[in-house]
């Protein structure tokens, strides 16, 4: 499926989990290496850059956040997915602020993890060859000509709406925090104006979603921000099942 085996570093202090992940991810087509602590992960990354790092937040010694920051500095093109626990929601925002590309909540299904890892991989590869025209489902956005087409028909967007959608589509499948979106679209002095963001997302959904009440493209990541998905892509992230 992938042109070459992607190298994943699994960082967790629980030996059984590392062992299970090593076997399962190998079965899913990854080349897996393990690290027991944050320090070890940083040391291993220094010698040999990885395509992906799966990093647990709660570890003795160097925390996942700090390890993430250091790995990001060492190898900027490595995709990092952090493992959070459900009842510490603020960890998600913090993980993204530390430079993680995505997060996954423990305990997770392997399918979900693989989908996330692949999405991150796709994105890091895409960043290396930026395209002027992006496609997702029925949507086609032309970044140079600042045009959006939905099922072949042009959709009129205001300049801010366009910037917002373009930014989200460039980060396909990745969670984007409220603050990051506000700064990217409105400017670096913004950050707390969630109301702006909400009303623009609402308007965008009216223009691009089939049923704005049940969005398929712009999904809300509770307490974090938004995630743009491609509903036509089976590889795209399945909606998180909970309850």
């Amino acid at each position: 499926m992938l042109p070459k085996q992607s190298k994943v570093l699994v960082v967790d202090d629980e030996p059984p989990l590392r062992k299970a992940l090593r076997a399962s991810l190998a079965a899913a087509g990854f080349e897996v290496q393990e690290a027991r602590t944050g320090d070890e992960a940083v040391a291993v990354s220094k010698q040999n850059p990885f395509d992906l790092v799966l990093l647990d937040i709660n570890m003795p010694g160097l925390t996942g956040f700090e390890a993430c920051r250091r790995i990001r500095d060492l190898t900027p093109r490595t995709g990092i997915v952090m493992v959070t626990v459900r009842d510490a929601e603020d960890d998600k925002v913090r993980a993204l602020e530390c430079g993680a590309d995505d997060y996954i909540t423990k305990p997770f299904r392997l399918r979900e993890l693989v989908a996330r890892l692949r999405a991150v991989l796709r994105r890091t590869q895409m960043e290396q060859n930026p395209k002027a025209v992006l496609q997702a489902g029925a949507l086609e956005i032309d970044l140079d000509r600042r045009m959006l087409r939905r099922a072949g028909k042009q959709v009129h967007l205001s300049p801010k709406e366009f910037d917002l959608l373009a930014y989200l589509m460039q980060n396909l499948d990745a969670p984007v925090t409220h603050v990051k979106l506000l700064r990217a679209v409105w400017g670096p002095e913004y950050g707390g104006e969630l109301e702006y963001l909400r009303s623009y997302v609402k308007m965008l959904r009216k223009k691009i979603e089939t049923d704005p009440a049940r969005p398929e493209y712009i999904l809300t990541e509770p307490w974090v921000g938004y995630r743009f998905c491609d509903p036509s892509d089976p590889e795209s992230l399945p909606p998180l099942s909970d309850n």
Binding site: A20, S24, A27, L110, V114, S199, M203, S241
Partner: protein, 520 residues
Amino acid sequence: MAAATPFLGAGPSGRERVPLSGVTTSYLRSSSSKSIGRAAKRIALGSIALALLTAVCYRLHLNVGTTSFVYLLVIVTQSLAADFISSAVVALVAVACLDYFFTDPLFTFNVTDPLDVVALVSFVVTALVITRFVSKARQEALTSQLQHRRLNGLYKLAQQLLAMEPEVSIGKKFLEPFRTVFDARAVCLYDAGTGELHLVGESSNSLEERTRDAYIGGRDADDRGAGISVRCLRAAGRTTGAIGFEGLANPESEAGALTALAATLFERTRAFRRASHAAATAQTEAYRSAILDALAHEFKNPLATILAAAGGLREAGPLRPDQEEMAEMVESEAHHLGNLTSRLLRVARLDREEVKPRMEPIDIMSLVSRTIQAYSRHATDRQVSLQQGCESAEVVADPELLRLAVSQLVDNACKYSHPDSAVILSIERQPHSVAVRVWNRGRSIPPHEKNRIFERFHRGDDARQSVPGSGLGLYVARKIAIAHGGSLDLEAEKPLEEGATFRLTLPTPESEPEHVAKAV
């Protein structure tokens, strides 16, 4: 005559036991006959002394002036030892003697010389004034001595009480000093906090009943005949108990001070009891948190391993269809268990912390539908569904918290309904709010439990035996509703419909804030 005198009961030497305070009619009444006898004896003694002196003075042919001075010695001595009345009587006897034996004409009570009249009148006035002053000084000394003794008693009592370890319970140990220091026959305390009666000593007049009755009636009670005084203990405007004394030497003046002391100490013990209880509760909460946090960690890692391994099994495939099904079952159930653990932890956290919703506009229908989907997968023996024809609405709420609250309601409805029965959710738009109703067929909630089901840790009588749960679900769901400015209630039952309907109401946002769109 004697009954009007304040300190008639005091012995001449002061060695006799005296009441700890002075003016006590009950005490006087009981000892008045004895006092009259004592006064008569003193008058007789004074009169004999006068008679002797009269004889001596008469022999020596002393005049009125000299004899008066000699008499005054007797009168002063008399008033030093005795009360005013007996001294006054002796003074009058002395005047009579002067008149009879020393003024002309002798041996009659007539006085012819105006100078003698002046001398006699002067003597009477001087004698009475001296008597009065001396008695008064004596009385004051006695009063002060008594006050001193009473204060000493109270001080000693307070000291004994304060030296006690502050205990959680109030018992006989607390009452014993009251009895011993003030020589009461019995002391009884009714603690309204625990409903207990404590008695020390021997009561011959049902002190216990009277103490409890005084608390119930909220009124102090005195029975002089039985020597009983009962006082209510009050603190911060509330009656917290009652204390009864039997056989106090001087109940009217002592009961008040003793009660004040008892109330203070009683309050101290109660405060200690409350503080101990609060400390114990805080410790329990701390243990609970620690256990939950440990559970969170200890559960999630093995579950993550199971999920990773089961997923890996499927990836490693190809599996036979039955193997695939089993692997899927392991994965799906482990995932469900993970979600249950997360939810339990979140409920526990919300229970002890303040709920701080992070508001976002959400479509209530989509949230409710997702919850129903999740339940349909696992609660396969209940038909969880959304009522037909419901209209959706946008609410501003915390999606995670709201989903948790709705899940708790559905969970509750599934638990308390018959197998294979329906659990129906509905959404209803109201002028300024949206109501989500969760209905289940099943046992109705008994009237006495209706107000209690939202209480923390409350579990229905039947539930304790038949349904697993923590008793936190509805409590936390309501906490979430209230934090959103909404409410969670149990709806009144419709006639002929068995079951329960919970209504979660959330306020709907005002019309779209236009300034937002214009501002950017």
